[in-house]
Symmetry: C2
Subunit: 614 residues, 2 copies
């Protein structure tokens, strides 16, 4: 097991080997923006899923309108986040900003929403990445789920090894996607507008033009909002930039804005003119790429590969950000402490494992179908946007520093708009899956509160009062009990050990099989060790209960606060599988005895050697 | 957890409550024959799967011929098993017979084959049962796998509760199936031969009549041999009959023979005249029932229900027989000992759980499709038939009792024929899945051998030599180490406990975070307990290795054979989920320390109370 582990995730690293790469703008962009940029791969398609069934071919006329609304929203968000970056040079995620400015409950809501989101980022991005593959190779359609889970497992292993947020690692896929996507937009528009090529009607669409009602517009808008996920990453990552960090982070934010506008706008335009219709088998992007670059051409496959890669990178950002968030929450005492510990490779291994399991479950439940997962996605994102903006507003109001009114207005406007969007998305997507988020987030908050209550209790009960000095030897702890099933080398070793520590040893046998008991009695007499053997019958073949009953009985008679010590031998086989073959009564016994305040247990090791047969 | 368990499987039972019902012929028949009788539900269909694709409508001419060959084989088996019943009034399964007469390896082969078979019995019978349901309600076709796994889980729970092989429980489904199936045969033949009704051609079959080659015949024959599975149950169950047990068991065997001949022969005839063709959606029996009783009539549904019930009973026999077999093997030291222990409800719970998991995995792998599972099935059955018959031959040869030649001839003939059949089946089904059995059985045998070797080694190392008397206090065990992360109530309790037992206590701190270490140092000085505090830095954030290194170092300096005792506090929360929230370093530490021959570990319990907030 241990060698498999070290093969998969590498040798342990020293604490001092922790390493922080500082980004320039060129390096930081791919690391922090892959999530946001990759959303372009499915956002257009989601809008069309809403429009096409109702408006048929008329959808393409309004696709642009919806896209423009989303770009406007993006614009507001960029202004808002610019201020967050300025105020939080050490990183201002929603959790931190709302904890500092809004209090515990809002920060827990942000934490729970972000948790849901990160899990969805992984699930959505990998399934979308798989969709890009299956669009190019339809033969793999039957293996969607398996492919997605494989990618998640690979990412988990990679992150357990501790893939650094290294610029090198992220640059290639991000810039490759940028390059191919822009190439596709340029070539596509040139072909259509300059060469006047009439796009092949690949999908038959009804010509009937339904009306674009407000309701339909809002639905399409909320579907497209998935394009804005991942935007927060830049404000989280400020401390990773080279000085002046704030300035560089803001430059990246602007660049990101520009890129999303170009890609999302361009894709919308291409989808409109090439009449790409959403389908479960072929992504919209792949339909466009097929028409622009030609079927089965090198560039077509390059586009699909680049899409898969950037989506995988997007999922990977969740693998580096979520465990970090969880470690913050754990350090504040609202998540199990194990999440705050770095594993052998200095990654927050428990968080990584949790994330990969949760995302895999989602992928399996939703049959690897990106389109079914997306309704769950944007709600949490916009809830955390809103909380983060509101936190900023509170910060400005409290600080009253120069220009606070202006700044509070910008963040307040951002908060209002994102709140509105969150509501629109929730209403429109509620029955399609968003309700799940409305259960998960409150449940998450309650769990975090309870965890915190537990830790507080523990701290209270463990704390040493300042005026308190330990009293020793107030209680006795000299009475030993050795449970004996049969008399053998291991028991002899155990008793021999116990005799070093105590003069008051009782051997205790639970009789299940009369024959065994008789044999033991005979042997016990033969090897007279000067220790009394107490025998009790167990009607239910249970070992623990009779022992505890005996300890508490008048027959044994201990003073209330005295600690009784139970000494058990524990077999350990030199072969790993050898341990499966023993009843593990010792482990079982200990686990149950530990529930008793005053029973300590000693385990005396007995190693079973794996010599060759003579 | 514990209350969920007792809700599902009931309160523990006393060892004295073990209970054996003795069967009369009428009661014993349903209990011991459901497996064999239920095979009729799929055997005909399997023959047709071989014939129809090649011979089209001509298949039905030859179906009878194949069926007759199988009935002849059954006849030979009945003669053979009659003798096993006579010789093994305490139950003569293949494992026991071959162990007694052929030696260890053949018995392990029989054990492994039977294990594979019992798992397949469960998988095959439940999927066939589900097929009977989905034939009646096609809407459930998509939930095949889920249904089958649910049935398996229900059976596992039922058997963990300890469903008795009670006649009452088995009689209803078995006799119901017998009654409905015979009714269908009578009505079906009457309608066709007397009323002269022309069967509706439900499935379009090619009229082209291929030749019945020997090869095709053998293929069809080996497919149909699944009808003979479950025959061994009667010879296993001899001791469960009322006296004279042997006589009653033989009567049941004859009755079983008669029933299989009538049902299998009758079904073959009906399939021939009603031209039922195999399909993945509708079983052959349901096609016949539809034509005989009419679509969606009461009797049609009754037939489907009865089929499902008897198949479930058949799976249930595996749930009672397999854990028993495994307990025999475990008692002989060839399987993990845990399988020889009765659980809280006196059932062999570990065997039941293993069986249900293995069968569920098979069902999932084979997509709940009975037809894909069956090729794996008959091989193991016929291998164990052959071993059991060969064992009987050896028994007669060795005994040389009156008429041994005659008896040896009968069993020898049986052995030859079953061996031949096993070879035919293996060859024909090899590429369709039987190869799996040829991997699993040898692997199983090797595992059982290795398990036995391990137990032998353990026994050798544990055994007390007759001339050996334990020497006490040869070694010291008075040096204690208390690992300390920070100074709190639990640590104080631990040290206070250790002070009762030893004068030589060292506190050991592993420094991961400098700040924490400084705090500890200050506190340690304040609460001066007269115990030295050793501090070591751990570069890899590991706790166990530095501790073991320290114990083995010159700094600590122990004599080679002295036992060092490590004392750790263990938190236990009154709430079950509370324990998840602690790092469980204690458990971790102990598990790793146990690998060291001379390090004993003491756990001192510290219970975290769950009081209400004040």
């Amino acid at each position: 097991m241990s060698s498999l582990k070290s093969y998969l995730i590498g040798k342990p690293l020293k604490s001092s080997q922790i390493h922080h790469e500082k980004f320039s703008v060129i390096n930081g962009l791919p690391v922090l923006s892959s999530d946001a940029i990759s959303s372009v791969a499915y956002a257009c398609e989601e809008i069309l899923w809403v429009l096409v069934p109702i408006m048929g071919i008329g959808s393409f006329k309004y696709l642009g309108m919806v896209s423009l609304a989303i770009i406007a929203l993006l614009c507001i968000l960029v202004f808002s986040y610019r201020q967050t970056i300025e105020s939080y040079p050490n990183g201002g995620g929603s959790y931190i900003v709302s904890r500092e400015n809004l209090g515990v409950i809002p920060s827990l809501v942000a934490g729970a929403s972000l948790t849901v989101d990160y899990v969805l980022t992984v699930a959505v991005s990998t399934t979308a990445g798989v969709a890009a593959i299956t669009s190019a190779i339809p033969g793999l359609l039957d293996f969607k789920i398996e492919l997605a889970v494989c990618i998640i497992i690979l990412m988990a292993i990679g992150n357990l090894r501790g893939i650094r947020d290294s610029a090198r690692f992220f640059s290639v896929p991000t810039y490759l996607f940028l390059f191919t996507a822009i190439l596709m937009i340029v070539v596509g528009l040139y072909k259509y507008f300059i060469l006047g090529i009439e796009p092949a009607q690949t999908v038959v669409l009804s010509n009937q033009i339904g009306d674009l009602t407000i309701l339909l517009f809002l639905k399409a808008f909320s579907a497209g909002c998935t394009a804005l996920t991942g935007l927060e990453a830049v404000s989280d990552g400020v401390p990773n930039f080279k000085a002046p960090a704030t300035k560089h982070a803001k430059q990246v934010l602007y660049l990101l804005f520009g890129i999303v506008v170009i890609l999302f706008g361009g894709m919308s335009l291409l989808a409109s003119v090439y009449h790409a219709a959403p389908s479960l088998d072929k992504t919209v992007i792949s339909q466009i790429a097929e028409q622009v670059f030609g079927q089965n051409t090198f560039l077509f496959f390059l586009m699909q590969i680049a899409t898969t890669l950037i989506l995988t990178m997007a999922a990977n950002t969740a693998f580096s950000d979520f465990p970090l968030l969880l470690s913050f929450i754990a350090r504040d005492g609202y998540a199990p402490r194990q999440f705050a510990q770095r594993g052998s490779r200095l990654s927050f291994s428990n968080g990584i494992i949790l994330l990969s399991i949760a995302a895999s479950i989602l992928v399996v439940i939703f049959r690897g179908e990106n389109h079914y997962l997306l309704p769950l996605y944007a709600v949490g994102v916009f809830v955390s946007f809103t909380l983060s903006q509101s936190g900023m507003v509170m910060k400005w109001i409290r600080s009253k520093q120069a220009g606070w009114r202006h700044k509070a207005f910008i963040n307040g406007f951002g908060a209002l708009i994102t709140l509105g969007t969150a509501i629109i998305i929730s209403v429109n997507k509620f029955i399609h899956g968003a309700w799940v988020v409305f259960i998960l987030v409150p449940v998450g908050v309650i769990i975090m509160k309870r965890i915190n209550r537990h830790y507080k209790k523990v701290a209270e009960q463990l704390s040493l009062d300042n005026n308190y000095f330990p009293e020793f030897n107030k209680n006795e702890a000299r009475r030993f009990i050795v449970p004996v099933a049969s008399l053998n080398e291991a028991v002899i070793k155990t008793i021999s050990y116990a005799k070093c520590l105590s003069k008051d040893i009782t051997a205790f046998h639970i009789s299940i099989d009369d024959e065994v008991t008789e044999k033991l009695k005979a042997k016990w007499e033969k090897y007279d060790m000067g220790i009394p053997l107490v025998i009790k019958k167990s009607e239910y073949r249970d070992v623990v209960e009779p022992l505890v009953n005996f300890i508490n009985s008048d027959e044994f008679c201990t003073r209330e606060d005295d600690i009784v010590t139970v000494v058990v031998p524990q077999f350990t086989s030199e072969k790993w599988w050898g341990n499966i073959l023993h009843n593990q009564t010792a482990i079982f016994l200990k686990r149950s005895l530990l529930k008793n305040k005053n029973i300590a247990t000693i385990t005396v090791p007995f190693i079973i050697k794996d010599y060759k047969k003579r």
